[in-house]
Amino acid sequence: MLEVKNLTKIYPGDVLALDNVSFTVESGEFLAVIGLSGSGKSTLLRCINRLVEPTDGQVIWNGVDVTQASQDELLHIRRKIGMVFQNFNLVNRSKVITNVLSGRLGYVNPALSLINRFSKNDMEMAREQLERVGIADQAQKRADELSGGQQQRVGIARAMMQEPEIVLADEPVASLDPVLAHSIMQHLEDINQNEGVMVICSLHFLDLVHRYASRAIALNEGRLMFDGPPKAIDDARFKEIYGQEAERVG
């Protein structure tokens, strides 16, 4: 169970990105985070694994206060939280297999990883993860030789190497076409339903939210505007979240 309590983030220059946000996510849930660009979705996801240091508030995961963890403890927490990004964030010049193996860095002996030594188990696991997302034949290619959809699959495989209990997906399909978007979302759904991994995924399109999420929260200018089942987002709610001028598309 992940509890977010009164989370506030103020960036330098008094930019309020998150304003006293509180919500709870149960294990095994697929939570969608919606809201306009700049509403604080990315900041919220990054505060959970402290890629962004929250200014105030707590993130409590299975009783452990992530926000108070020391640096060493934080690395141990992070390795159980996989992350998938809008721009894939692969190391372009490295091989696909190396990108996937980097998901294992929180577990391996740091000294051996620095000289590129990974155990047989890790290699086997990387191959399995690539097979699972259907690009095992691309393992030896450079990451930037792959298409966008393939790159995002590498991103998912990398996150899965962490044997995560949570996967944070920051607009994972925003740079992909609709067909690819569904295939990527289906991979996330598979992880969520077959492995019981909690998925927290920020999304732009409501139809994706309806189709995949078990619950949704909505942010507007850093404030939590909605918390409930996706079906409950009717036109009134929609205008509350996206503003009075917004029109529903898709």
């Binding site: 694994n49 890629l51 020391s70 640096q71 060493d72 690395l75 141990h76 927490i77 992070r78 390795r79 159980k80 939280i81 996989g82 992350m83 990004f85 721009n87 894939f88 964030n89 692969l90 190391v91 372009n92 010049r93 490295s94 190396t98 980097s102 998901g103 294992r104 860095l105 929180g106 577990y107 391996v108 002996n109 740091p110 000294a111 051996l112 990883s113 620095l114 030594r117 990974f118 155990s119 188990n121 890790d122 991103g155 990398r158 190497m161 962490q162 944070l168």
Partner: protein, 607 residues
Amino acid sequence: MRNLRKKPVVRWLIIVGVIVVVVVVYAFGFSVTDVNFETTRDEQRLTSLTRILRALAHPDILEYEQIEQDVDLPFHLPCPQGQAPPINVDTRGAYIVVTPACAGPKDIVTIEGFKFLPNTAGPVNFIAQSGVKLQLGSFKTDSRGHFSITGELPNRQPIEEAQTIRATARQNVGGPRVSRTGKLVFDKIVETVFLALLATTFGAILAIPLSFLAAQNLMSEIRTPLTSVSLTLLGWLIGIGLGGAIAVQIGRLVESTLGDNAFITGGVVLGAFAIGLASVTTLTHEKEKTSELNARLIRTVGYGLAGLAAIAISYLVAYMMLLVGEALIEPLGALGFLGDFVFQLGDSLRLLTPAFAALIAGGAFGSLGGRVGQQASDRLDPRTVRTINLAVAALAGAALFALIGAAIDWFYQVLDLTQTFVIPAIVGAIGGALLTLRVDPRQPLPIGYWVYFVMRTIMNGIRSVEPLVMVIVFVVWVGIGPFAGVVALALHTVAALGKLFSEQVESIALGPLEAVRATGANRAQVIKFAVVPQIIPPYISFLMYRWDINVRFSTIIGFAGGGGIGFLLQQNIRLLDYRSASAAMLAIAIVVSSMDYISSAIRQRFV
């Protein structure tokens, strides 16, 4: 645009004023730089210019074996009083005829040659009584061995006796061969290229780690509380002192037990075996679990002992390399430089072991101090932390300022302990204490940014000193020759490459960094997996570019005694030997342009 709206008169005045100012500026420039076009028309200077340009156009690279044929003719300058004495010309072999048979100074004469070797060339000289040769002209014979030229007689003091006009026909025999200068230039240009290679290599080895410390994006996120900063600083100082001292002691111990080759060999073999065994048994693929204090203590002691053993083994390896290298020089013959290489590597290992030991111990103690400080400031309550901070920050400040005081004392020889030790230490302690009182005890300080700033300042300082100046210092230290050039260029390379490299680190894509950090990787792993792959192409590209620059630099550091071809070039210019200088310049041009080609070809492969 506002000017256009002004009255035409004002506009004209402004234009005239600007023109006057420009004219005055350039006029002053002409006067300051002694521009004088009259000298460019001076006949004597033009003759010298022609000579030098022609010499430069004939680089002294190839030469031929030549046979010479001298043909002399007595000649009166000026014509004697009364009857000119008859001149007997032996017409059986080659001979020359001058018309008129005698003449006054600066008169024009015609010189004809007969029965010379066909298709030869050479000068016609007037040889004065003193033996001075003055060239009248040069000739080329036709297929029948005949030539005819005119020349102006020199303006000499009148002498009664006959002087000589000599035609010298020269003919090349056999194929061309490399001249002595050519060989020398070749040797020196090879020296130059390797000088640049070594300087670039040594410079890059240091510049790569330093470039990470001078990259703002990596450093600015390193923030630790004051306790940790102070303890890290103290840890580094203690570690460096302790590591260096222990290494020196071990070195003495090893040296005193030497004299037995079997001991050295045995030590190296055993040591290598022990290290291999230790690494196989201790290095697991899984990350070590955060274990109990006891186990950690044992492990720390183990690491310490391993470090001591490593120092001893390092010395043993160094001595073995000294022995092996020296023994190899003789039997290898022409490849003896390989033996010398091993010897020199051993010597530098012996020299550098204490430095490495000091650095590693400093790093170990520093990170230990940092960890303890971080833990203390995380766990203890703010008041206790502040009390601890007051002590450690004051101590760290005192130590830092005392060190700076010692450095100043070394340079300026103040020789006053109060001024160079006591006062700085007190100032540092007060500074540390003030810092403690000013900042929140747990607030992370931007220590990374401070390190970045100090590194940048040092690099900019070093970079602003020209290698030509540096080489003067190093010539004093290691003597005139290419080695001084290597050291000077290497130092300059560290600073220059450090800056270029760090700017590359600053311009990498941050997304992959974020992604790798999100996996729970530590700082070293993030650098290895997200930073290094991104910077390899630009690093290689800059490395090649720097080698290119160093080749060009090393052509001039020879002027200050830094070895390489510059030394030869300077010598030849001073001796007015322009043909040899031209050979050197040609060699530089060839090497620099081919370096340019090669480096761009390699860059294209990697980027």
